[in-house]
Structure formats: C-alpha cells, structure tokens
Symmetry: C2
Subunit: 566 residues, 2 copies
C-alpha cells in the first residue's frame, strides 16, 4: 500500500523527510496563544501530560455532502523538521510577558519525537465529525501543532474538494486546466492550489513554479503544464510587415518554407474564396493575424491561439484557421483555440462548425477535431449551464472560482482535545453541532453489498472492531432517535499511523502525488451517486458505537453545570 | 513625502532592497504563457520593444464603492531582485517545445534595469479603471511581471479593503484583532493577511510569525500581538488539586502569596455570598477554575480568559471574576474575557453587568471596565447587527471572514497593454466594461471645496495637467452622455515613480508599514460619507479628459472589424 521512497528492498530504513514546500512554514506559523498556553502548561508542570487531539471539520463545503482530505504530507514534513531556532526563541521570549529563561531552554529542546499522528490517507473522501487526524503527545507540543496543521489542511482540502466538484460537473472526458495563479490568495495560495487541484482531478496547470518547487530535492509535484498566449501578445503586433524572419522548416525537416507569412495569406484567401466559408467575415484584423503567424513561427508544433481579442467569428477564427492551414501544409498540426469571453456555448459551436467546414471543403483531415478551450470566470454553475445548453468545448481553464474557492472560501477544520492523562475530555457548546466527541477513538468505514461505503463509525480505542457479516448498531452521536443496524460486507480502518516519533517502524510512507490523486478519483467513483449529485445530495451517515454514544452522554451531563431558575 | 530608510541627510543613496517576504516569490511564480510569449517575442526579435502596461481593477469588492491599494512594496522587492537562476532556466527550456539555447542566454541576462514602474502610493483609496500601476519596459520582460504583480496585489488589496470595511462598521474606538491564521488560504495567506489587515486598520494579530518575518533583515512588520488561551487549555485541567506550585508574588514584589489557589476559592465564595451576585450560578466548573487559576499564575499581569468552554454565565464569568479578584488583591489587574460562542450581545451585556456589580458590591475600582473580547465567525454583517442590538464588546477577534475575504474571495485586477513602440493599443470586448483604456496616461485626483476628493481623471501623457481653479471637462470613458465640468480646489497626481531601473534618483522610497497604514486611515476619513456607507453607496466618479475620450473612440472604431449582415 505504501510506496517506498528510499530503499527498494521493502525494509523501511531511517529516512530524511524534506521540510514543508513553503519555507515560511515554521513553528512560528502559529497563533500567539499556542505559545502562551505552552508557557502556562510549563509553569504548571503539565507540559508533558499525554494528550490526544482530533482534527476534523463539522460541515461539508459548497453545499455538498463530501470533502476531499488533503494537506497531510505537508503536516508530516512540518512535524519531521519541527525545531525552534535561537532567533525564534528570542522572539517568543519577547512576546510573552514575564517569560522565564528556563522556558526558553525547554523550547530549545523541543521536537516531535514524542508525537504520534494517525490519519486518514490523503486524497480520501471524508465526512464531517470523523477525525482526519488524531494527534497524540505532550500537551504543550501538540498545541504548537494546532495552527500550522489547520492552516495546512483547511485550504488544501477545500481546494481539492472544489477541484473534484468541477471535475464531476465537467465530466471525465474533458481536459481541466487550473488558471488561477494571478487571483489566488497570495503566492502560496497559487502554488498549493495547483498541487491540490491536480489531486482533486484537474489535468494540468498553467502555473509554472509549482513544477519547480523542490526541484533541488528532486521532488517535483509532476503536474503537466499548459501554455498559450494572452491578449497583450495579440495587441502588441501592428501588421504582418513586422515579421522579419519568415522562414519555417517543415515538420519532417526535409523542406524549408522561405515565406511562411505569404503562405498564411494564401491560406486566408483560400478560406475567403470558399463559398461555404466566406460570408461570416470580410477583412480580419491584421495585427491579430501577425500575432498568430509570429506565434506559430515560434511554436509550430504547439500552436494554440487566443481568438477573442477583436472578434471571435469575424476575425479570430478565420485568422487562426489561415495559420493552422499554413502549418498543415508544412506537416504540423495546430493544437486549437482558446475563447476567453462571450457566449461560450454559441461561439464554441460556431467555431466547431467552421473547423468541420474547412475539413470538408478544403479536405484537411482532422481539422474539425481542433481543441477548443474555454476560460473566462468559469465555475461549477457555468460549466453545468454550458452542458445543458450544448457546447463544443474540449478543455476548461478555470481560475478565480477554483483557486479562491469563491463559492465558499474556507473550510472550518477544528482541533479538539479528546483525552488527557487517559481521561476523556469533552468541549460543550450551546450549539449541539459544536460539542466535541470525546475519547481516543478508532474509526471505520463500512461497505455494503453493492460495494458502496455505507457509514463511517467511531468507537472507543479498546472496543472490538466491526466484523464483516456481523450486525452492528450505528448511532448518531447526538440524536437519540437516529440509529441503524448495519451488516458490513467490508470494513476499512480509516486512521493509519503516519508519524511515531522518529521511529520508521509500522509507519505509512508518504506517497507520490499521482497515487494520492488516483485514490481520490477512485474513491469518488465508488461513492453512491445520490451522495454526489449537485442538487440535494443525500448526506452520508457518520455514527458512533452504542458504547461510545452512552459514554459521550454520561460525560456531557457530568460536565455541564446545572442552572438555577428563579 | 517619502521616507528615507537609509541615510538621514535627505540625499537618496544606492540602496539594497530586500527580496519579497515569501521566498517562493520568484520569476517562476508565473503562468507558463508568460514564458511562451517571451519566447515568441524573442523569436520575432520584438522582445525589447518598449511597451506600457496598466494594472487596474474593474469593480470594487464587497458591494462597496472603494478599494484600498496594497501589495506595492512586495512588487518592488520582487523587481529589485528579479533574476532567473540556471536551474530555473533549465526548467523553462524543458517546458517550451523546441526552445533554442540562445533564448536561455537571453533569459540569463534578464533583470529589471530597463523597467519603470509608476504607482499610486500604497494604502491609498482607489477606484475602478484608474491604473494602480503603470509598468514600462521591454515587452518580454514586462510580460514576465504580469502574473507575479497580479498575485501580489490582488489579495493584498482585497484583504486590506476587507479590513477597512470591518473597521468602518466596528467604529474607531473598538480594538480589532486578526484571528485568521488557521483558516487562511495557505501559509502565505495567513502571513500576508496579518500584514494587510493591519494596513487596513486592524490593531493587532494573534498570528506569531508575521512578526518574525524578515527579523534577520531587521525589518519587522511591527504589528502588535495579542494572545490568550483556547478551549483545549481549559479542558486539559481536571481539578484544582493539579496545581502544584501555588505561590504568587505580589505585583510590587513586596509580598508573596503562598497559596493563590485558596485565595481564588475565597474570592469565589465572596461572590457566591454576595446577595446581588449569587443567584445566576450554583457550582462552577472546577476544571475551568483550575485552568484559569493556572493561567493567572503564569501570566498574572496579562490574564485574559476564554469563558465559554462550559457555560458563560453559570461558570465562566464567576470563575474568571474569582481569579481576577484574587489577582487584584495582589495588586494585578486582569485584562478581561473572551466570548467565542452564543449570543454575543446578550452575553457581553450580562458579563458587563456582573463586572459592574462586583465593582460596586465588593468595592473594586475599575472592575467594571474589564475588556470584553468577542470572536466566533464575526463579519461585517454580524458586527453591524451587534451594534444595532446593543452590546458591551470592546474588542472583536475576526478570523475566517476577514482573511479569506469570505464575502468575495477575489479581486479582479488585470494587466493590459496600452502602448507599444509609442503606438497606443486597445483591447476590445463585447462587454464594454472590459474594453481597455489605451495610451500611456497620467492620472489626477481632483478635490472640491469641502476638501473631499471629487473625481479621478486620466489624461494622455502629454496633456497639460489640470489646474487649481480652472474649469475642466471630465468625461466617462465609455458613456457619451456622462460628463461634468469640475473646478478643482486641489489637484493631486496619483502615479509616482517607484522604480526606474537601478537608478535611485527621483524615485519614491518604500515606506514603513505604519506610514502606509496612516495614509489609509487618513484617506478613508477624508472620503465623502455617501461613498463609504454600507447600503447603496454613491459611486465615486472616474473620468477621462475630452481629448483622451475622443482618441479612445477613434481607436475603437479603427480596430473593431466591420461585420456583414446577410
């Protein structure tokens, strides 16, 4: 199941785990109160008390009924390299009123060798209330992990889920491109968005640095890149006279076209003179034609043109076709076009018709199969609307709405103490959805006869695990009346050990991004369709064992103060 | 106007400008197409053509009529250190199909010594369509700046505007704390959010690393920090017996309380025995009392307690008061409480009554002035609703909604070519709001008699500037019928030179964050109130000169293809 990064003999050996992708992820990427609390724990000599915390969220994002878990690898990389520098310690000292020097010595020695992390595999489909991570260790240290872990998981999971939802609505066959670097919430928003959108089912990014990140460490994310040109490139040209070097060697290298510009103009005339092609346009924009021609001279084997700088049907498409036909005569195949404005359903359909007419009229095989890419503020809704209307788009470039998670800009993961010194703890709230589920727990996913997951169940650490074929009562954690018997056909334990101090034994390895992505796609395909639909999806059931249910409610009554009415 | 960072004699000397705050901001924080275009420009021998680009946005965020401009400093830091490493160049080569080696040599020599950047001062109140930056230089280089500049400015300006809007609704007298690190869109989202929320009028952050950023370079952001404790700290305690070291020295150092725990219990009894204080509670939660006591022992001079872990009025408030009274007897002043759930209007009012009753009944001066901090998913609307209902909150901790800009997660700045080789360029669109305003331009803010800004006006580079007291026609750039004569009482040129190659002459210095923040607050205060109100604010007028208007429409007709109707 786990992939070996070092050593091929199957024996896990001491590994060096790289630090987080972003060098700004240090123990000081933290809320100050984590340090004030660490100090207070230390003052009370409580700092080493063994604690158990759960990291989970309370509500699926985007009005859906599922979430993709992402960000685990970065958490483990952070843990593995956890260390406060002298400079950082000086800073902490200055930020805490009355801080004793001995506390700085304590901080100086801190690492995560006493920490254990159990987590659901990254890329899994996950649900509210079920712990994504269970973190165990000295209370003061675990608290210092809270803010960085939440920061690394909240956005990663949110944007991966957003990507998965866009993939769902676009369908499997479409190419999905992530275009969001310029609108992302800061540089890291751009870089991690590219990674986690790929995880959630996107095909490529047009964002460069994501690929170079950690190239020094030989650890590319390995996401395919796509590029074309912008409107500025088109409007930077004035006329065909600007093109000085007009020669282009044929694709097979055997011949040389001395004047590609004239060839392009000849092809444009051919289109203009064809009875079924002319008519929609008269004169095309010459600066656009110059830009396309120039771009094709630079990238004859990767010609993809943005056709809406002046007018798609009257200028962009005929100009593109002229250049594509000229390339075709030299043995090259143009890639296609990009539409970045206007009525994408109409324009893509018209463009396709035009390409097919050229294939037919001018007898150019496959010209009708030109790739049509659409961008311009796309999101789940607009892609869905395009589908309903009918369109000829092959690839969607999605930017702002994808990477900023415009429809819902935050996931609300929380980090709650569930046990300390072997004593279960509960956090109460007037709002019952905010009451935490106490105890160090195990979690299982139960599968039904048809292979779909049926329900996730949490049990106390020492309860016997659910067994295949054995009837089991699953209870809603807070609603007395909601319970169901389940006879699982398959049982999967969800939390696996990803960190146990510095020991490598019995610890899951970090997987390549591609494997995490495959898990995500496979698990999504295996969900019962009614959980996945965009309108009124059925909530997936999350439950606790009967024993855990009773204990939760015993503890609740025990901790809640009794009021007095007057 | 500009602040000297080096040298105090007023003479600007050669300066070293640090790199961007986030080391991941390199020339490869980019869209691939910027490199494919650079290659195509280079192939066409156009790479050095002098171009002018405008960076601007089209619509104010959050349904408002103003925006705060932020992110400039990071752009200049990026420019000043622009350089592609060999490793980065190898990567670009591998990403471009058919890339010639000579292009890599070209990239190797690239820097921003031929670039000029004119910008509005950071922290200014700005409006749609008016360029925030005008970037001039070799077209291939300027294109490589597009994506990083947009990335650095879009989120910075968005979150600064969001902070300013929250400040507006909270009022000047309230303390505003930024709490968002855990929910931010990635690590950098957290760090830059802290910086730009402060710029937009927040008072402090609870996020640590923002302060350490660049400490090595002696360049703290310098934002005040605030800390307290979390629910986990409270529930990590079981009883008062856990507290081993019970001694606390008095504030003046003159006496020592051997058993602070007993003192706290005595104070709690005092409250319970007071006829006007008892009644709302019977037994308070003992683990909470233990946590508060322990926290006070660690931070006797900075005691701020989170009071809603079990029950605010039945447990949290009496427990807090007991500890605060005990501290008071030793000469310390407790800071106050934080409410993180429930009805904040009701709870803050009840808490205030209780504090005032203690001040009165137990004769403790100033006890009623205890600071009440509220958090829990606050945003503009909830703060506004609290104001309408009446509350006793002194400080708001705002997290998710602030840093993720939940109400609108992206600002849509664009980067458009307006001139190349001294030829004005226009980008057309079927959507008139997307048509770009061509030409290298100057921009001015015109002020009226009452001191308010009246209108921003763009003119051609060589037009005479508007003069105080002289009547001037201001035209809407696209709507023929919208125009107005203005007689400005004051004229301010908006674009100033922030970068001119490596030359320091006549260049604005980068200012300390505090000065940028002051500019922001001052300019906001100087806006006409109807532009600022939350409901149906009046749009601020943005115009062009009559001459520029005529030229725009001449160019538009010139570039737009003429259709044929059949």
């Amino acid at each position: 199941m786990a992939t070996k990064e070092n050593g091929t003999d199957g024996k896990k050996t001491g590994r060096v785990i790289d630090g987080p992708t972003n060098p700004m992820v240090t123990p000081l990427l933290n809320d100050l109160y984590q340090f004030t609390m660490a100090y207070a724990y230390w003052k009370a000599d409580k700092q080493s008390e063994r604690s158990v915390f759960d990291l989970y969220f309370r509500k699926n994002p985007f009005g859906g009924e599922y979430t993709i878990f992402a960000g685990l690898e970065e958490c483990i990389k952070f843990l593995a390299n956890f260390n406060l520098t002298d400079e950082e310690i000086d800073f902490v000292r200055d930020s805490l009123p009355g801080c004793e020097e001995a506390f700085c010595d304590y901080l100086r020695g801190l690492d995560c060798s006493d920490i254990e992390v159990y987590a659901i595999s990254e890329g899994s489909v996950v649900f509210p209330k079920v712990p994504l991570l269970r973190i165990e260790g000295p209370v003061a240290v675990v608290q210092l992990l809270e803010t960085p872990f939440l920061n690394l998981i909240n956005y990663a999971s949110l944007v991966a889920t957003n990507a998965a939802r866009h993939r769902f609505v676009a369908g499997k066959s479409k190419l999905l491109l992530e275009f969001g670097a310029r609108r992302a919430q800061g540089p890291d928003g751009a870089i991690s968005a590219s990674k986690y959108c790929y995880l959630g089912g996107f095909d490529a990014t047009r964002h460069v640095s994501v690929l170079l990140v950690n190239v020094a460490a030989g650890k590319l994310f390995g996401i395919p890149l796509r590029g074309t040109h912008s409107h500025a490139f088109v409007s930077s040209f004035m006329s065909l006279d600007e093109i000085v070097d007009k020669a282009l060697r044929s694709s097979d290298g055997k011949s040389n076209c001395e004047d590609f510009v004239t060839l392009v103009q000849t092809c444009l005339s051919k289109i203009q003179n064809s009875s079924s092609l002319c008519g929609i346009f008269s004169e095309t924009n010459k600066s656009e034609l110059a830009a396309f021609t120039s771009y094709a001279l630079a990238f004859p084997s990767a010609f993809l043109a943005l056709v809406d700088t002046y007018d798609v049907m009257k200028s962009g498409i005929p100009n593109f076709c002229a250049v594509a036909l000229a390339l075709n005569e030299l043995g090259y195949k143009a890639v296609g076009i990009r539409l970045d404005s206007g009525d994408l359903a109409y324009l893509s359909t018209e463009a396709r018709k035009f390409f097919c007419a050229i294939e037919r009229e001018l007898n150019v095989p496959d010209f009708g199969k030109m790739i049509i890419t659409a961008s311009n503020d796309l999101n789940e809704e607009t892609v869905d609307a395009l589908n309903k209307q009918g369109h000829e788009v092959d690839a969607f470039g999605i930017g702002t709405n994808l990477v900023t998670c415009y429809a819902q800009a935050a996931l609300g993961c929380v980090f709650k103490l569930v046990e300390i010194n072997n004593q279960p703890r509960i956090k109460l709230s007037e709002d019952v959805t905010k009451v935490s589920i106490p105890c160090k727990k195990r979690t299982y996913r139960l599968f039904g006869k048809e292979g779909y997951p049926l329900v996730d169940i949490m049990t106390g650490e020492n309860e016997p695990p659910p067994k295949v074929g054995e009837r089991l009562l699953c209870r809603h954690p807070f609603n007395e009346s909601k319970r169901a018997y389940v006879v699982p056909q398959r049982v999967e334990e969800l939390l696996k050990c990803y960190w146990r101090g510095n020991a490598d034994e019995a610890r899951e390895e970090l997987e390549p991004l591609k494997e995490i992505r495959n898990r995500c796609i496979k698990q999504l395909e295996n969900m019962r369709p009614d959980h996945m639909r965009r309108l009124n999806p059925t909530p997936y059931k999350v439950s606790v064992s009967a024993k855990l249910y009773d204990f939760i409610h015993f503890l609740w009554l025990n901790e809640a103060p009794v009021g007095e009415l007057h």
